[in-house]
């Protein structure tokens, strides 16, 4: 199962190393990690998307993270209403003839063209994992030259969830 976990950590050297080392040696599968400084420059927030086999493995991920002295707080926010976003830069093969077609296609995703070359355009999209995936799928037939994407970064929403369905989805 895929879970989204956030951790606030001391913004000291080597912390990322500690965490990735921990994941590797305990055989936890990480789909993505993002790190960035928080409103407090001494503290960073990490967002992990992990793929775990069962509840026991998930429990271990959280407990082992918590054991790290530099980790201040760990939360599994998968069950909460959260805002989770990824960013992707997608360089697509494009000719002057189909450029507007690609633009039209990107519009509902609120993706923007951030670079134009002779035979390619680069699109920037932000959104949840599914949205980014969906756009990439649609662009594949044109030929994707290069793809760079961040992992998910996430925050809990301030408002409480309205329904059960909403609770377990990343829908905006």
């Amino acid at each position: 199962m895929i879970r989204t976990i956030t951790a606030t950590v001391n913004n000291s050297s080597g912390v990322l190393n500690r965490i990735t080392g921990l994941f590797a040696r305990r055989q936890f599968n990480i789909e993505s990690i993002t790190v960035g400084v928080t409103e407090n420059p001494e503290i960073s927030r990490m967002t992990f998307v992990v793929n775990v086999d069962n509840d026991r493995a998930l429990d271990q991920v959280i407990k082992q993270l918590n054991k790290q002295v530099d980790v201040l707080k760990v939360r599994d926010i998968s069950g909460d209403t959260i805002v989770a976003r990824e960013l992707a830069l997608i360089k697509v093969v494009s000719t002057p003839q189909n450029r507007s077609e690609i633009e039209t296609l990107a519009r509902p995703f609120r993706a923007s063209i951030v670079d134009v070359g002779r035979d390619s355009v680069t699109l920037q999209v932000t959104g949840d994992h599914q949205k980014v995936e969906a756009l990439i799928d649609l662009l594949k037939p044109y030929g994707i030259k290069e793809l760079a994407r961040t992992g998910a970064t996430a925050l809990k929403r301030s408002s409480k969830s309205q329904s059960q369905e909403l609770k377990y989805s990343f829908i905006q």
Partner: protein, 576 residues
């Protein structure tokens, strides 16, 4: 106090604490602040400024002859004294030589402070002479580690290091000290408080879970206590005694938990696990309530998890929440210091039915399945040797072991009635541990008889530390259980590799007695079993160090045994 006096007193206090010091002076002053009275180490380039201060300050330093000896001695000291063991080494090879000891302390939860020299900050990362990335290397095998970049951070780091090493679940902490940091000068002000928001071990049990456990005991018909190292590390042996006795529940220990409950007590079923006693393992297997206090359900204890305590409600007291539910599903999780949990359990008086039938059942197991070995009339049986050591030391010695068959025989045949008298490498199974650990143990308890029970092979991994015995006339008694083989390896090859003894038999050995003589240590070789007791007696009575080379039956196996992949109910070699 008048205003003036107060001001004066404050000024004096400030003078004492806010002193200008070099980094290495700060390191030593921090050790003094932490009450450290002995350190084990080995000098070299990057740590020379600190050694210069050791020279000046006169803090007690034991020079090992190999850094591995120093770190295992620090471990032995920690296990017996309950204080942090301190080890100090130079950068690069000095530091990498202690990696095994750090890993050993990590897995067996021993409080250890390792100070490693490092190349100067301006050349870190340039592959400088004797540079090794110790923070990187030890990250997975320390509870935490630090590299000090600024001399001003030394007091805080030292304070935090000791706090982390000795509280919660103890463990090793490495402090990497670049040479320039150790010579830079700053103000020394040892912090009174610790500010570690990310490190807040839970040591008080949740009352609700304690209630649940009390209720479960009330319902139980076949309860058993599994006592692990956590009982010893928390100093909770007498609380365990009260708990077991008032509730009338039998006690099984882990290998590392030996001594947490007196083995000669009626309620004791002895050690469980791969070479544990039949009754101890069967008690776990047949229990309907398993109360684990401070053990981590290690695989050598549990055997095949599929068959482990299949009918038991599992309660688990552990100060490390990550251990709870890691290997075994737990019904009653109690995150707490073991002693604290026992105190609270003991404060509530709960009735139970005395478990009469269960005790009778287990007693019958004990009578039918005692430990056994067969004399052959020719050779000294290693089991017999361990029995003799137990008898001749009246069960009062501190026993350290190396790793292998002799370790298991020591665990089986020496009856530990007191806490902190047993020092062994459990989780890592580190050959070379036992002898230097005995040295550390002897420093912790100078008046105690310390017996190092060592294999003929393991001894050769760290025997250079005979120098310490010679130099300081340290009265460690070394018992080499000499089966002229890597006994435990040979046993596995016999049982699981069709007797293909690949590299496990020693056709040639050093003359251990002559070796001892080279260090001016009296040595005794014993080939005739009839002489064994007399020689042992005589040697144990001698003042200083002694080495015994006991030639024992060489093809003896350790039984009973749970073969790999098997469950507790499938023990082999239970009877002759």
């Amino acid at each position: 106090m008048s205003m003036d006096l107060e001001v004066e007193a404050n000024m004096q206090a400030a003078e004492q604490t806010d002193k200008q010091m070099s980094g290495s002076q700060m390191i030593l002053q921090s050790l003094v602040e932490e009450g450290v009275d002995i350190i084990f180490g080995y000098p070299g380039g990057a740590i020379l400024p600190t050694y210069d201060e050791i020279y000046k300050k006169g803090i007690r330093h034991i020079l090992a002859r190999h850094e591995q000896g120093a770190v295992h001695a620090a471990e032995g000291y920690a296990r017996v004294s309950g204080k942090a063991g301190v080890c100090i080494v130079t950068s690069g090879p000095g530091a990498t030589n202690v990696v095994t000891g750090i890993a050993d302390a990590m897995i067996d939860s021993l409080p250890l402070i390792v100070i490693s020299g490092q190349v100067a900050t301006n050349v870190i990362g340039t592959d400088a002479f004797q540079e090794a990335d110790m923070v990187g290397i030890t990250m997975p095998i320390t509870k935490h580690n630090f590299q000090i970049r600024d001399v001003q951070d030394i007091p805080t780091v030292m304070k935090q290091a000791f706090h982390i090493a000795t509280t919660g679940r103890p463990g090793p902490v490495l402090i990497d000290l670049p040479k320039d940091v150790s010579t830079n000068v700053g103000t020394f002000n040892y912090p009174k408080h610790i500010d570690l928001p990310g490190y807040q071990p839970t040591v008080q049990p949740n009352r609700l879970q304690i209630k649940k456990l009390n209720a479960a005991i009330k319902e139980a018909k076949r309860p058993v206590i599994l006592a692990g190292a956590g009982v010893l590390l928390s100093g909770g042996s007498s609380e365990l005694m009260t708990f077991a006795k008032t509730r009338n529940i039998p006690v099984v220990t882990t290998l590392l938990g030996l001594g947490s409950f007196p083995e000669t007590e009626k309620l004791s079923l002895g050690m469980a696990g791969m070479h544990g006693l039949y009754t101890a393992n069967m008690a776990l297997h047949e229990s309907d309530l398993l109360i684990n206090i401070g053990a981590r359900f290690d695989d050598r204890l549990t055997g095949n998890l599929d068959y482990f305590a299949p009918n038991a409600i599992v309660a688990h007291v552990d100060v490390d929440p990550a251990e709870i539910g890691k290997n075994i599903d737990t019904d009653i999780p109690i995150v707490s210091d073991a002693k604290r949990a026992l105190e609270i359990l003991n404060a509530s008086e709960e009735e139970n039915d005395g478990f009469k039938a269960w005790h009778e059942h287990l007693n019958a197991y004990q009578e039918e399945n005692p430990l056994w070995y067969e004399e052959d009339g020719e050779t000294l049986k290693p089991q017999k040797l361990l029995e003799m050591i137990y008898e001749e030391t009246k069960g009062e010695a501190i026993v350290t072991t190396d790793v292998g068959q002799h370790q298991m025989w020591a665990a089986q045949y020496y009856q530990f009635d007191e806490p902190d008298h047993w020092v062994t490498s459990g989780g890592l199974g580190t050959m070379g541990f036992g002898f230097p650990a005995a040295i550390g143990a002897q420093f912790a308890k100078p008046d105690k008889t310390v017996v190092a029970v060592i294999g003929d092979a393991g001894f050769q991994m760290t025997l250079q530390e005979l120098s310490i015995l010679q130099e300081l006339h340290l009265p460690v008694k070394i018992v080499i259980v000499n089966n002229a083989s890597l006994g435990m390896v040979r046993q596995w090859q016999q049982l699981f590799y069709e007797e293909r003894y690949s590299h496990s038999l020693f056709p040639i050995q050093p003359d251990f007695v002559k070796l001892a003589e080279a260090y001016n240590i009296p040595g005794f070789k014993v080939e005739n079993p009839d002489e064994a007791r007399d020689v042992l007696k005589k040697g144990l009575e001698m003042d200083g160090p002694v080495l015994f080379d006991f030639r024992v039956t060489s093809l003896e196996n350790v039984y009973p045994m749970i073969a790999p992949g098997k469950g507790h109910q499938e023990m082999e070699g239970v009877k002759p």
